[in-house]
C-alpha cells in the first residue's frame, strides 16, 4: 500500500474519531459533574439523528442553509429533552448508589429506544448532505468525501469551544469546581443542582449535535444508539472519566484504530474498542488523563 492510501485512511479514521469525540465528550462531562454514567447518552444521540431526519423532510432542498438550520435547531431541542430528564429523573438519584443510577439510565434506554422504534420504525434513514458538502475533495489522487473533511473540521472547533468554555469563562470555572469540590461550591452560594442541570443539558446538546452530523454521514437506524454508547464508554475509559481532553485522545485512538484494523482484520476490528477498554482498565483504571479517585 502506498503512503497516500494510509493518509487517506488516517483522515477517514480521524473524522470518525471527531464524530465520536463530539458525543463522548458529552458523556464525559456529564459523568464528571453528575458522577452518573449515562447509559441513555447513546439513545439521546440517536433521537438527535432521527429528529434531524424528520426536520430535514420538512425543509425543502439540500441547501447549506437548511443543513445549518438543523445544526442550530436540533441540538438545543435535544438539550431541552435533557433538561426534562434531568429535572424529573436524574436529580432524584444523585445520592443513591451506583447501581440504582445505572439502572435508572438503563431503564431510560429501554424506554427511549422503543419510543424511537414506535415513532420512526426500523428502516434506515439519512439526511441529504447540502450540495456544497456532497462532493469530494481531491487528495493526492484520492477522492475524499467533503463531508468527512467537514466533520474533521467541526471536531476541533467543538473541542476548542469546550476548552474555552471550561477554562476561560466563569460558567466553566463553576463546572470545573462542581467536578472537584461540589460541597464547597455549594457553600460558596452556587446552586449546584442547577449547575448539574446545565451540564447535563450541555452533554445532551453535544449528543444531539453528533446525531445531526451522523445522520448526514451515514444511514441511521435503531442500532446506532447502542453502538455509540459502547464506543463512548471505551473513549471515556481510555481518556479518563470526566476528562474532556482525555475524551479527545480516546476518540481519536478508537476512530483511527478501528479504521486501520479493518485493513488486516476485517470485521474483527470491532473487537478493538473493547480490547483497548479492558487493557486500559487493567493497567490504568482511571484512564490516561484522569486522576485516581483516592
Amino acid at each position: 500500500m502506498s503512503a497516500e492510501y494510509y493518509l487517506f485512511m488516517l483522515i477517514n479514521g480521524l473524522s470518525q474519531g471527531m464524530l465520536l469525540f463530539i458525543v463522548a465528550s458529552g458523556l464525559s462531562l456529564v459523568f464528571g459533574v453528575l458522577r452518573v454514567i449515562n447509559f441513555a447518552h447513546g439513545s439521546i444521540y440517536m433521537i438527535g439523528a432521527f429528529v434531524a431526519y424528520s426536520l430535514s423532510t420538512l425543509l425543502t432542498g439540500t441547501s447549506l442553509a437548511s443543513f445549518l438550520l438543523l445544526l442550530l435547531v436540533v441540538p438545543p431541542a435535544i438539550a431541552l429533552l435533557g433538561f426534562v430528564l434531568e429535572v424529573s429523573l436524574f436529580r432524584r438519584v444523585y445520592r443513591e448508589e451506583h447501581l440504582l443510577q445505572l439502572l435508572l439510565t438503563y431503564a431510560l434506554v429501554l424506554i427511549l429506544d422503543n419510543v424511537v422504534r414506535m415513532i420512526w420504525g426500523g428502516d434506515p434513514r439519512n439526511v441529504a448532505r447540502p450540495e456544497i458538502l456532497a462532493g469530494s475533495v481531491d487528495l493526492m489522487g484520492m477522492a475524499l468525501p467533503t463531508y468527512n473533511v467537514f466533520i474533521l473540521l467541526v471536531g476541533p472547533v467543538i473541542a476548542l469551544g469546550l476548552w474555552l468554555l471550561l477554562y476561560r469563562t466563569r460558567a466553566g470555572n463553576v463546572i470545573r469546581a462542581a467536578v472537584s469540590y461540589p460541597d464547597i461550591l455549594g457553600a460558596l452560594g452556587v446552586n449546584v443542582s442547577w449547575v448539574m442541570t446545565a451540564t447535563f443539558m450541555l452533554g445532551c446538546w453535544l449528543a444531539g449535535l453528533g446525531g445531526v452530523l451522523v445522520a448526514a454521514l451515514a444511514n441511521v437506524d435503531l442500532s446506532i444508539g447502542m453502538e455509540k454508547i459502547i464506543e463512548c464508554f471505551a473513549v471515556v475509559v481510555i481518556g479518563g472519566l470526566g476528562s474532556v481532553g482525555g475524551a479527545l485522545l480516546g476518540s481519536l485512538i478508537i476512530g483511527v484504530g478501528i479504521t486501520f484494523f479493518q485493513l488486516p482484520f476485517g470485521r474483527w476490528a470491532l473487537v478493538f474498542p473493547y480490547f483497548v477498554m479492558a487493557l486500559v482498565l487493567i493497567i490504568r483504571p482511571w484512564g490516561l488523563f484522569g486522576r485516581p479517585e483516592r
Binding site: 454514567i37 429523573l89 432524584r92 438519584v93 443513591e96 451506583h98 447501581l99 440504582l100 445505572l102 439502572l103 435508572l104 438503563y106 431503564a107 431510560l108 434506554v109 429501554l110 424506554i111 429506544d113 422503543n114 419510543v115 422504534r117 414506535m118 459502547i230 464508554f233 471505551a234 475509559v237 472519566l241 470485521r267 474483527w268 470491532l270 473487537v271 473493547y274 480490547f275 477498554m277 479492558a278 482498565l281 487493567i282 483504571p285 482511571w286
Partner: protein, 326 residues
C-alpha cells in the same frame, strides 16, 4: 430480646413450611399442565425457562446482592456455559449429563480469568470492566464463524429420548433446588459472612484480616459457575445457543430481577425474575403489540422501582411487616 429470638425461630419455621409447600407445588405443576394439551406444553416450556432464569438471577445475586459488586458482564459466563453444552453435544457428540457437568467448569474457568482482572477494581470501574470483558466475549462469539456459527448460533442440539418437556422440567427443577440449597449454604457460611462484610465495609474487612480480593475472586468464580450451568440448561431447553446469550442486555436481565425482587435475600431475585418473565409472557399472550411494548413497560417498571422502592418486593414486604408489628 427474648421475644425477638422466639420471633425469628417462628419465622424460620414458617419459611421452611412455605418453601416445602412451594416445592411440592412446583413438582406437581407440570403434571397438571400436561393435561391442557398444546397450551399446557407451552406453559411447561415457559416455567422451565423461568426456573433457569431464576438460577441465573440467583447466581448473579451472589456477587451483586451479597458481594456488592455490580457486574454488567455476567452473561459472559451464562454464554460460555451455553456454548459449552452446544459445542460438546453438537460437535463432539458428548452425552447430555457430561455436557451439563462441563458447563459450570468452563464458565468457572472463564470467570477465574476475567475475575482475576476485575476484582482489582471497585465500584463503577468494576462494572465497566465486566461490561468490556462480556462484550469482548460476545464479539468473539459473533465473529468466530467457523467455531461458534456467528450470529446464526448453533442449532439442532440433540435431546435424549427420555427427556420430554415434563422430564426436562423436573430435571431443571431438581438442579435448581440443589443449587439453591448450595447457595444458601455458601451465603450462610463463614465465607458468605466475609463476603457480606466486604460489601458493608471493605476497609474494615481488610483491617480484620480478610483477603478481600481473594474472597471476591472466589465469589466471582462461584457465581460464574452457576451462571454457566443456567446457560447450559437453557441451551438444551431451546436446543440452540446464540450470541444473544452473551450480550450485555442478557447481563442486565438478572440485575433487573434482583432489583425488582430485592437484592439482599436469596428468594428476592427468584421472585423478581419469575414475576418479570410471567408478566412478559402474559402480556404478550394478551396482545401481539405487547411484544414491542414490553421493553417500554419493563423500563417503566424499573423506573418506578428505582425511584420509589429501591429495596424491591422483598423490601416492600419487610416494610409492610415492620409497620404491622409496630
Amino acid at each position: 430480646m427474648k421475644t425477638q429470638t422466639v420471633d425469628t425461630t417462628r419465622w424460620r419455621f414458617t419459611n421452611w413450611i412455605a418453601g416445602i409447600i412451594v416445592t411440592v407445588a412446583l413438582f406437581v405443576l407440570p403434571f397438571i399442565l400436561a393435561k391442557f394439551g398444546r397450551t399446557g406444553e407451552f406453559w411447561i416450556w415457559v416455567t422451565t425457562e423461568m426456573i433457569i432464569n431464576a438460577l441465573f438471577a440467583l447466581s448473579l445475586n451472589l456477587i451483586l446482592g451479597y458481594g456488592g459488586m455490580v457486574s454488567f458482564g455476567h452473561a459472559a459466563f451464562f454464554g460460555v456455559g451455553a456454548y459449552t453444552v452446544a459445542l460438546l453435544m453438537k460437535k463432539a457428540g458428548v452425552p447430555l449429563y457430561l455436557a451439563l457437568l462441563s458447563a459450570p467448569f468452563t464458565a468457572a474457568i472463564a470467570a477465574a480469568v476475567i475475575g482475576w482482572f476485575c476484582v482489582r477494581l471497585i465500584g463503577l470501574y468494576f462494572a465497566i470492566l465486566t461490561l468490556a470483558f462480556g462484550q469482548l466475549l460476545y464479539m468473539v462469539a459473533f465473529q468466530w464463524y467457523t467455531f461458534t456459527g456467528g450470529d446464526d448460533g448453533i442449532h439442532g442440539i440433540p435431546r435424549p429420548e427420555f427427556l420430554g418437556p415434563v422430564n426436562y422440567y423436573l430435571l431443571c427443577l431438581i438442579i435448581f433446588l440443589a443449587c439453591f440449597l448450595i447457595m444458601r449454604m455458601i451465603v450462610n457460611s463463614s465465607f458468605g459472612l466475609s463476603i457480606r462484610t466486604i460489601r458493608e465495609n471493605m476497609e474494615r474487612a481488610k483491617f480484620i484480616g480478610i483477603n478481600v480480593k481473594r474472597y471476591q475472586w472466589i465469589n466471582f468464580i462461584i457465581a460464574g459457575a452457576f451462571a454457566g450451568l443456567a446457560g447450559g440448561l437453557l441451551t438444551e431447553l431451546n436446543r440452540f445457543a446464540q450470541t444473544e446469550f452473551l450480550h450485555w442486555s442478557k447481563s442486565a436481565e438478572p440485575i433487573f430481577a434482583s432489583l425488582v425482587g430485592g437484592m439482599y435475600s436469596l428468594v428476592g431475585p427468584v421472585i423478581g425474575s419469575t414475576l418479570l418473565m410471567f408478566l412478559k409472557i402474559v402480556l404478550q399472550q394478551l396482545h401481539k403489540s405487547m411484544v414491542e411494548m414490553w421493553a417500554i413497560i419493563l423500563g417503566l417498571i424499573l423506573l418506578l422501582v428505582v425511584l420509589f422502592a429501591p429495596g424491591g418486593l422483598v423490601g416492600i414486604f419487610h416494610r409492610l411487616l415492620g409497620k404491622t408489628e409496630s
